[in-house]
């Protein structure tokens, strides 16, 4: 039983780490590059405007898609590693 608990505990910690890492990227793309850091990135030109504008209207959405699929793939793998899959 204690074995099961430590195993489950480790699985949950790994999940929390993965979520935290993903959310850092999530926030960097949207609140960072697209909003707060836009003035800093204004030197990088792209299609008649700057990188911050691109992140706001396109880049962040692409980052969100990659993150969601990465998380699903990684977690489904973790489920199996820890023997917790359905």
């Amino acid at each position: 039983m204690s074995d099961h608990n430590t195993n489950a505990e480790k699985y949950w910690q790994a999940n929390l780490r993965l979520i935290l890492g993903s959310l850092v990227v999530w926030a960097l793309a949207s609140y960072g590059c697209a909003i707060l850091l836009r003035p800093m990135l204004s030197g990088i030109h792209i299609g008649g405007t700057d990188l911050g504008f691109w992140f706001a209207q396109q880049g962040s959405i692409l980052v969100f898609i990659v993150l969601t699929f990465f998380y699903a793939w990684k977690m489904n793998k973790l489920d199996e590693e820890f023997g917790l899959q359905e």
Binding site: L23, G48, T49, F53, I61, T68, D79, L84
Partner: protein
């Protein structure tokens, strides 16, 4: 064949398809009615989620808002997609593992309290009804355009159609209908966008066209647009925003609101496994992104097209004469959504930003005020006409806009009616109600919800997308924090969760009512809704994020001062964290 007949054919045809599917997949049991029997493939569920999600606000209003606001309104793009990242990681898999029918089901069990469940029902109904208003307004606009009636009549027609449609379906019918509606709406949205992108930039993909060269001028499209709007006294399209705090909070409110909207969450109860719930969130986001990556292109191109139509020789030259205005302006004038008033009596259409800063320039050009008022909500619907696209594209847009409004309305009505029949009636008032009685109660509550939504749709507090934004504030401040704490903390107890939800919801509602009128009754606002009056420059639409923080803080503080939850509740929290042994969604 005239345009009216074409529209009727497209809309009628798509309706026949939905009714057919809804009839084929009609719900016989409560399980089919609430969670579609629990066996929907993750890709199909992703598609249905996308249709459920992309509402009249996304389809009809969003591009118009971005066209008007430019960079500043990118918040809608990020806010309405970024929430899926939160949903995929923080809520969907665990709630699927929990395996019940509704969101209040989880809150009631996790916080071992009927009161918590009732508070959740109240939050859910408030958020969903507010959201339905936006759908009704949007559907009203679409109907009024293609049936050529006034807005209120359009609204009533929309209400009648949605009612029959949602009552027949249940979740099972709604799911498969939404798959068809997704296909209709994405085709309808993409085809005109591709045409317009080809016309303006020679680029096949609109999202690429947005950052390409405007063929006619040889300048990058966005630079060209900036120059044109500047000549007419508007802010640069790509101009940065001064109030970054408000922009961040507004985006955050939309994101956590998205993750906390019950009609989206319950979609993840319909897939067979926890792993499917994770994939399904990704698929939903892909299907949503197909429209959301096109929308900013549509916005900028339509804005440029509109200004080029009015100033055919460029913004520094004379605008067109009213007598020579294009047909589409005339048809939209009959709906009252485009208004023209010849203020300087020269017979021409002066369309510019009538602000003090532009006053001198306007006077020098002999202009005595902006003469054209274009409702932002018509931009997507009028887009094909503005770009002179063939009649069948216009019919397609009408069908697509209605698909978007109706699929979301149906999803919301399901969330509302399941909260009333399952959580309120079966959960509290009459636990012994039969399966058949519960189904009947669900259908009656749908009727009441739609009557309320129609009344409020006729007296809306803002544009369709902004009305929807209010629902987000409420979902963000009440439901999302409660669900997240229920999964990620074993310490938060029933008193903590209830006081948190009430504090979050209460503070958000008060802040919104202060500026937009108490209970949205016109004329009852305590302060004018202007940035000067806002607390720290936070708009009422951005307050949801603050409400969520208040909810978290109150819930943790109160919980830490009171007893920890009983052992079996802590075990319940353990069990939702691990996918093993999920089984299918079950009744109590």
């Amino acid at each position: 064949m005239d345009q009216f007949t074409i529209n009727l054919l497209f809309v009628g045809g798509s309706f026949a398809l939905y009714f057919g599917i809804a009839f084929w997949a009609r719900a016989g049991s409560t399980k089919e009615f609430y969670v579609a029997g629990g066996g929907v493939h993750p890709v199909l569920n992703g598609m249905a989620t996308a249709a459920d999600w992309m509402s009249a606000a996304s389809f009809i209003s969003m591009a118009g808002l971005i066209a008007a606001g430019g960079y500043a309104n990118s918040t809608f793009l990020m806010g309405w997609t970024g929430g899926y990242v939160l949903l995929a990681m923080l809520l969907a898999p665990y709630l699927r593992k929990f395996g019940k029918f509704t969101v209040p089901d989880f809150i009631g069990d996790r916080f071992y309290s009927k009161t918590a469940r009732l508070v959740a029902v109240a939050c859910l109904i408030t958020a969903s009804v507010t959201y339905v208003i936006g759908q009704m307004t949007g559907a009203g606009v679409a109907f009024s355009r293609f049936l050529e009636v006034d807005k209120s009549t359009g609204l009533v027609i929309a209400a009648v159609v949605v009612f029959f449609y949602a009552v027949l379906g249940g979740m099972k019918g709604i799911t498969y209908t939404q798959v068809a509606q997704y296909v209709v709406l994405i085709i309808a949205y993409t085809i005109p966008a591709v045409f317009i992108s080809l016309q303006l930039t020679d680029t096949f993909i609109p999202a690429v066209g947005l950052f390409s060269t405007h063929t006619e001028s040889g300048l990058p499209l966005l630079q060209k647009l900036d120059e044109v709007v500047r000549e007419l006294g508007f802010r640069d399209y790509t101009a940065d925003v001064d109030n970054k705090l408000n922009m961040v909070l507004f985006t955050l409110s939309l994101m956590i609101g998205t993750a906390g909207l019950p009609h989206v969450i319950i979609r993840f109860f319909t897939v067979p496994k926890v792993a499917d719930a994770r994939w399904s969130a990704g698929w939903a986001l892909i299907f949503i992104a197909l429209l959301y990556l096109t929308a900013p292109a549509v916005a900028s191109m339509a804005r440029l097209n509109l200004l080029t139509t009015i100033y055919p020789s460029g913004p520094t030259e004379q605008p067109i004469e009213y007598a020579e205005r294009p047909d589409w302006v005339q048809t939209w004038e009959t709906t009252g959504l485009i208004k023209f008033e010849d203020k300087n009596g020269d017979g021409r259409v002066q369309f510019y930003n009538d602000v003090p800063a532009f006053q001198d320039e306007a006077t020098a050009r002999g202009w005595e005020g902006n003469e054209l008022v274009v409702n932002r909500d018509i931009l997507v619907l009028a887009n094909p006409e503005i770009a002179n696209l063939p009649g069948w594209v216009i019919g397609l847009i009408a069908a697509g806009g209605l698909a978007a409004a109706l699929s979301t309305a149906a999803g919301l009505l399901l969330a509302i009616s399941s909260a009333i029949s399952h959580d309120l009636i079966k959960g509290s008032i009459n636990p012994n109600i039969s399966d058949k009685g519960e189904l009947k109660a669900a259908r009656i509550s749908m009727f009441v919800a739609i009557v309320v939504a129609t009344y409020l749709g006729m007296n809306p507090p803002g544009f369709a997308a902004q009305v929807v934004a209010l629902a987000f504030g409420i979902a963000a401040a009440s439901i999302f924090p409660a669900l997240m704490m229920g999964i990620f903390s074993k310490r938060v107890n029933s008193v903590g969760a209830i006081s948190g939800m009430l504090a979050g919801l209460g503070s958000t509602l008060v802040y919104i009512f202060l500026f937009l009128g108490w209970f949205f009754i016109p004329g009852t606002a305590s302060f004018a809704n202007t940035p000067d009056n806002w607390l720290f420059g936070i708009s009422p639409l951005s307050f949801g994020a603050i409400g969520a923080v208040i909810n978290f803080v109150v819930a943790f503080t109160v919980s830490s001062m009171t007893e920890e939850p009983p052992k079996e509740i802590q075990d319940l929290v353990e069990s939702v964290r691990y996918p093993q042994g999920a089984g299918e969604a079950v009744d109590h």
